[in-house]
Symmetry: C2
Subunit: 154 residues, 2 copies
């Protein structure tokens, strides 16, 4: 797991490193790929939630948290290239145009998300009970919501 | 990173642990969620390929490999529940019916995939050049293809 001190730097450098690669994906593909990432995250968030509300399997929570952290840390900023700020035919997006102009705020929220995802994975790797991950899971959920609130249409 | 010796056991137990959770997703959602996982894997495979053919960024390759390993190890077997063996309205699937009957072969191929994904992530975490991950990346690609050949329609 990345140490949290290096996450901001990592996020930034990944965004830059990812820029060249994003050019290989069409705007439609970028939208679909970022939605795929969030869908897969959502499934894994649901699994963790079910574990916290029901029987706790450390193995399942850790696996779900690793998937989320891996996706969050993969440089998704590269999937918000030019032309991906609005629907393209049947490919719909709920992103608000402000995401493409409020770079500093977006960078902070994205950095918080990556950090929260990595802290959740770290907590899950050592968890003996649901109690050991509840705080990290709540922080992770808040980091998702913070970005949705600002930059995702209802 | 999981040690490879424990991966087969982990895969099996995750499949079992995931069964209860899958019941919360409709068959349509299961198909879409597994496709989301593979789409996100595909994007990250493409990034690694671009790094091996062009300029090599260890940071980007490691991040992509971690995303792939996280998704692969998340218990995707739970997304192949009853009713997900064929198209459901607009939700199309390329899975062959044999995937739902050839359990032993599927388990072996899935285990190989999870193991190859984790070995790629391990190799990427220490790589100093493209040469250091080429073998692991080839093995990972082969593990994808082995399952596509048997259980995915063209």
């Amino acid at each position: 797991m990345q140490k949290s001190v290096s996450i901001a730097a990592m996020t930034l450098s990944l965004s830059i490193a990812g820029a060249a690669v994003a050019e290989q994906l069409s705007p439609e593909e970028q939208i679909l790929t970022r939605q795929a990432g969030y869908s897969f995250i959502s499934w894994n968030m649901g699994k963790i939630k079910a574990n916290l509300e029901g029987e706790f399997s450390q193995q399942q929570v850790a696996a779900a948290a690793n998937a989320i952290a891996g996706i969050a840390s993969s440089g998704m900023g590269a999937l918000y290239g030019p032309g991906t700020d609005k629907d393209i035919g049947d490919v719909k997006t709920r992103v608000k145009p402000a995401l493409f102009t409020e770079r500093q705020q977006v960078g902070e929220l994205a950095g918080n998300f990556v950090q929260a995802a990595n802290m959740m994975a770290e907590a899950a790797s050592m968890a003996e009970s649901a109690q050991d991950v509840k705080g990290a899971f709540m922080d992770l959920g808040e980091s998702c919501k913070a970005c949705h609130k600002e930059f995702r249409k209802d």
